[in-house]
Each structure stands twice: as C-alpha cells, then as structure tokens.
Amino acid sequence: MISESASAISRRIAAVPARTSTETWQAIVDLLTEAGSEAHQELTAITSIAAILISEEYTRDAPIVVKPASGARIRVRTVHGMDAIEAINDETPLYSGGLSEPGWSVSLPCGSDDLDEITTALSGASAITVRDTSEGLSASSAGGTNSGASAAVPVINLSEMGRS
C-alpha cells in the first residue's frame, strides 16, 4: 500500500523500452542532481545496482523515495512498456533544487528475492538504502536496509569481460 503525502513531489520517468535500465537511472540522477555535484557522483556510482532494480520493474510498482536535506520529499516512479514511449515526452523537471545540499537520503524499492543481494551490494553507500516492496510504504517511512557506514565507489574489474 502506498500512502501519498501532501508534502511529497512525484515524478514519472520513462524506462524500458524508451531507455535501457542504465539510461533510466542516469535520467533519474540528472533529474535529482546537478552534474559534478557530490550527490550526482554518489548516485552515479550505484548505476548498475539501481539499473537492476529498474530492469526488474520494482520502481514501477513502488517509488524511489528521495528525501532532500530540506524541502519536500520526492517520489520517482518508472514507466515501462508502451506507456514509456509516450511518457518520455511528458517528463516534468524538478524546480526545487533536488539534492543540492548534504544530508539527503534515497530509498530504493526491491523485491524480497533480491533484497539480500542488493542490500549487500549497497553496503558502502550510507545515504542510499533499499527496502522490501512487499512491506509497503507510509508517508513517514523513507528508510530501508543498509549495513554500511561510509560512502564508496564500486571497483569494477573489466579485464575478464569479453567480446568476440
């Protein structure tokens, strides 16, 4: 169940097939942050993890909940299938400044089957948490599960990735 709050801003972002899951997360990061900002870097660092959640369409069924340091909470949902093709021309920018100040947090929705893996993968990103979509969401709950304490950028070893 989802309870909408009067102090929340909602946005819809077109996902697959209008964008790949990775492109969709990039669009969300661009919506919320300014290029080059600390928040932009932190959210970009988890692109692969967030893209998996988008590809599984958890972000269609439940919102990404963004809590800026001040101001209204932002809820972002993704739109998939034919609706995405129409939605990409109807995306509304944010006028509130998004995550321009330190102290923000982001809660990502996740299905129970993927929760343990994604929670572990996000353990280095203290401002970004994941929550089980089956547990619902109230107007006051933007938190989730995160076992980490400090921000970190995932290290990717591409040496074994192949192309023939």
């Binding site: 697959v16 097939p17 209008a18 964008r19 790949t20 899951s21 990775t22 692109t47 692969s48 993890i49 893209a51 998996i52 590809s55 599984e56 299938g81 034919m82 093709i85 893996e117 993968a121 995932p154 990717i156 591409l158 040496s159 074994e160 990735m161 192949g162 192309r163 023939s164």
Partner: protein
C-alpha cells in the same frame, strides 16, 4: 510469466531485448548457483554494449560461458547459455515486446546447478564493423567439443527482433 507490448520501432525493440537478455542472464546466473556479483557490478557496461550492438544490428548472440578456473585451459568449459539474435523474426517488423521468463526458468531447470567453484564470462558475438563500446575487450570462445546444444526456443521478441535461448551440457 509472459508479458507483451505492441511496438514497431527497431530502437525500442533493441532496448527491450537488450535489457531483457540481461535480465535473463541474471535469472540464469542466480538459478544455476553462480555468483551474481560479476554481472551486477558490470551491468551498466554490459547493457551499453548489448544495446548499442543491437541497435546497430551487429549483435549476433549473447553468451554466458561457464568455466572451472581450477581446470586446465582448453578443458575448463563447464557449460554455456546462448541467446541467438534473429533480426528478421517478425518479417513485418511490428512484433510485440514480449519476454518469456518461463522459458528461461525451464532452461535453468533442465540444465541444473553448476559447482560452486565455477566462474563465468558474458561474451557478445558481433559481426564486423561494430561500433566500439568502452569497457569491452576481445576474446575467443572456449571450444564446445564434447558438449550437446539443447534448444529452448524463442525467449523474447520485439519489432523485427527475436532472441532464442539454448544451453550446452557435456555429452562426452
């Protein structure tokens, strides 16, 4: 579960199939007991390449090559899953965006699990002239001599695109 959406544009179909095949690979990796971290950590690079080469029509197939790092090179292939691309699956080019996760689940069930020490590579089989995508390098596929190819059938479609799924098991 089967989902479908009508579409007739190649770019949208390519995007749908690119993300769909990665979802399928993730389902296979998790379902056969492999470590999902390799795929998870490289998802953005993989998706960029697969989508680019589907859009440019250079991608011929996407291969999950499973190997045992404890075995001698040349004899270390343990199994393989292949998505093979058919750019003319729907001749009129207006096939639905369709993804059959049950077909992938069936392939996993028929293949069984891999031993815990196994590792894997994701390999894109491309035709000459492909555009370069950052993060990818060239490789040579391991020989499938001694393996039997089992075809599952079409796992996803979109526009004129179709992607069929097959897996290899050791036969000798």
């Amino acid at each position: 579960m089967t989902t479908g959406v009508h579409v007739n544009l190649h770019t949208y179909a390519a995007t749908h199939v690119a993300t769909g095949m990665l979802r399928g690979l993730r389902q296979i990796i998790r379902g056969t007991g492999l470590d999902p971290a390799y795929l998870r950590d490289r998802w953005d690079v993989l998706e960029r390449g697969i989508a680019a080469w589907l859009r440019s029509r250079h991608l011929q197939g996407l291969i999950l090559e499973v190997y045992d790092p404890g075995r001698r090179t040349g004899d270390d292939l343990v199994g393989r899953f292949d998505f093979k691309i058919d750019y003319g699956y729907h001749a009129d080019g207006d096939g639905d965006l369709w993804l059959d996760s049950d077909a992938v689940a069936f392939a996993i069930r028929k293949n069984g699990s891999y031993p815990s020490q196994c590792d894997y590579l994701v390999v894109a089989d491309t035709s000459p002239g492909r555009p370069d995508v950052t993060g990818w390098s060239t490789t040579t596929l391991r020989s499938t001599t001694g393996f039997t190819r089992q075809s599952i059938g079409t796992a996803m479609t979109g526009g004129s695109l179709g992607a069929s799924l097959a897996y290899y098991t050791r036969s000798a």
